[in-house]
Symmetry: C2
Subunit: 339 residues, 2 copies
DNA sequence: CGTCAGTGCTGAATCGGATTAGCTGAGACT
DNA sequence: AGTCTCAGCTAATCCGATTCAGCACTGACG
């Protein structure tokens, strides 16, 4: 430390008042009578000395640190983290809070250590984020602490949670195709394990809308949610002679693989086959034509989580954030099917 | 807080010793004589009560918080942040440190607030990360505090910095092409503004190796480092009838655009044209064929920055981290040029 | 038998704020 | 003149650690 830090006592002395008075003025408290004159002197002294309260000392007394712990299983997962962290960060900062960030990598031991380390530093609350929307089991040491789940749901539904409205995203994707005129020959691409919330809900949303319109999926191409397996699976699908008018890819990486497969199969997007997808990643906007994708509102998710955590009244509900549709270029009017 | 926290005094009482003794035992200090007997009793009591020291109280006295502030201009930038933060995080955690993360968005006012907020919370040091490797000007309020620059260089070279060895990356890219047999018809894609370190150095590395081998670049396709403009520029280049054997794209996004352009121009990678690139992003591995890319060692950069910051002796040098070559599929033997 | 060197430990101060309890002096009222 | 009220402030304590200064006891030695 360069300049030995200015303390409240320094300010008080300079203003010719007691530490108590200075403290009350700085805290802006009106429950003690302080003359305008004294208040001004304190404020002036504080400014002159460039006083900054020592938050550690304050926290020792108040038990509040204006600090939040953001614990996630995976930060690295492509794009996901960036905007989500940005949303949390800027919102926290707007409330004069700072964010501790931690990554567990799915390891319970690491998670315990992380939570303990944050607890030892007196964080005011936790945001538990999962990057793959699966059931969460926040550690027991968090009992009694403020907690918001982000992109995951606990078995115990009394913990407030923020997550994208995946079901509605499914509806949006389905409607986008219906509105373009697609009815027959729509195929879903990507596996849908029951325990993966996003998979389950996206599919449910699609099927809900289709059912209401009397439309049925022509099939599902099962594959992990990555470009390479999606490419293989979709190419095999095309190679087997099956023809479709549209693909609903369960995320943008799958759609990327599908684009590559369509290309190799000599099918043009969207003239020969339309594609809709989920995530709204950068990748989607880079594809040619731009991929039609129902976007995860990362920034908003992060923002809302922090907002809920800092809210006066503790929320207890599950908050679903709308997923906006990005791009339209990969959806076209279906070709009249070859007789 | 659920259970009223156990304090050192509780431990001391239970062990039948003074707070002082308990403190020395817990700190593992040997400069005061403590009987094995007493030591054992304290340790035992601490375990029984599940004692955890209040780090805020400790910090108040010691001025050390075991906390680092990571300030970056942009966290969101695709992929960049993820691994870099992971590297910093896991290293910090290994040293029992926690990371405050902040993003300035390039806004100096935000930067000031962020740094102040972190300073007020007594961070032990700062890592200043820039996502676009340009000259950094760390705020004056950091004078006298530990600081490591990450992915950027200050005008004042006495501040320790960690950055990828971009020059060598250029050499690697150049050699990769030379070894495959390319000599004529190599073109660089992407603009190289002088103030962007990565651009300057990558180009310099390429030219250094080429010069040593008597090879000359056949030209440069100028365009911003994004898929769309790269696509346009490269397609126009091909459309103008120019033919090349290899492209050196200044990052993976540019390479993505180049792939699209090559595809539209009916050129196959790598049979008709080889492509090397920089960044080693996920995108590179998803392209078909997989993109040959000199990777930014994000994780290692983050790791090293934290390691330097926490090192006993303050480093003062610039540390350049080697950039590994990823993938080989997009580089092939050059076609005999049409006479 | 006095004292000197260790050994093993404790009391009190300290860090920088927040907070509680209470004090002083002036004017109003009786 | 006595005392009540109230405005305007201060002293002292607390938060939970670290750390300085020093005390009591034991055994050895002259």
């Amino acid at each position: 430390m360069p300049t030995p830090r200015v303390t409240l006592l320094d300010v008080a002395r300079r203003a010719g008042v007691s530490r108590t008075t200075a403290s009350f003025v700085m805290a802006g408290r009106t429950d003690m009578r302080i003359s305008a004159e004294a208040e001004h002197r304190v404020l002036h002294a504080a400014r002159e000395l460039n006083y900054r309260p020592n938050l550690m000392a304050r926290s020792l007394r108040t038990k509040l640190t204006r600090t939040i712990g953001l614990v996630s299983d995976t930060i690295a997962t492509e794009a996901f983290a960036g905007e989500l962290i940005r949303g949390s960060l800027s919102t926290a900062l707007a409330h004069q809070h700072l964010l501790f960030i931690g990554e567990t990598g799915g390891d319970d031991t690491v998670e315990m250590q992380l939570v303990q380390d944050m607890l030892d530093r007196g964080v005011d609350g936790f945001i538990f984020a999962s990057m793959c929307t699966r059931p969460a089991r926040p550690p027991a040491s968090l009992r009694g602490h403020r907690l918001v789940l982000l992109n995951c749901l606990a078995d115990d539904h009394r913990i407030p949670a923020v997550l994208p409205d995946e079901r509605d995203a499914g509806r949006i994707a389905a409607r986008t195709l219906l509105e373009a005129g697609h009815r027959d020959g729509i195929v879903m691409v990507g596996e849908t394990p029951a325990e993966v919330y996003a998979a389950r809900e996206r599919r449910a949303g699609v099927e809900e809308v289709f059912a209401a319109e009397g439309v049925t999926l022509s099939g599902t191409v099962e594959c992990p949610w990555w470009p390479e397996p999606a490419y293989q699976a979709v190419y095999d699908f095309f190679a087997s002679g099956k023809r479709v008018t549209a693909l609903i890819c369960l995320n943008d990486r799958v759609a990327f693989g599908a684009y590559q497969a369509a290309d190799r199969a000599g099918l043009a997007v969207p003239d020969d086959v339309s594609v809709v997808s989920f995530d709204g990643s950068h990748l989607a906007s880079w594809l040619r034509p731009q991929l039609t994708s129902v976007a995860i509102p990362h920034f908003e998710l992060g923002r809302l989580a922090v907002e809920l955590l800092l809210a006066e009244a503790a929320a207890h509900e599950v908050h679903r954030v709308a997923m906006p549709l990005h791009g339209r270029a990969s959806v076209g009017v279906p070709r009249p099917r070859p007789a």
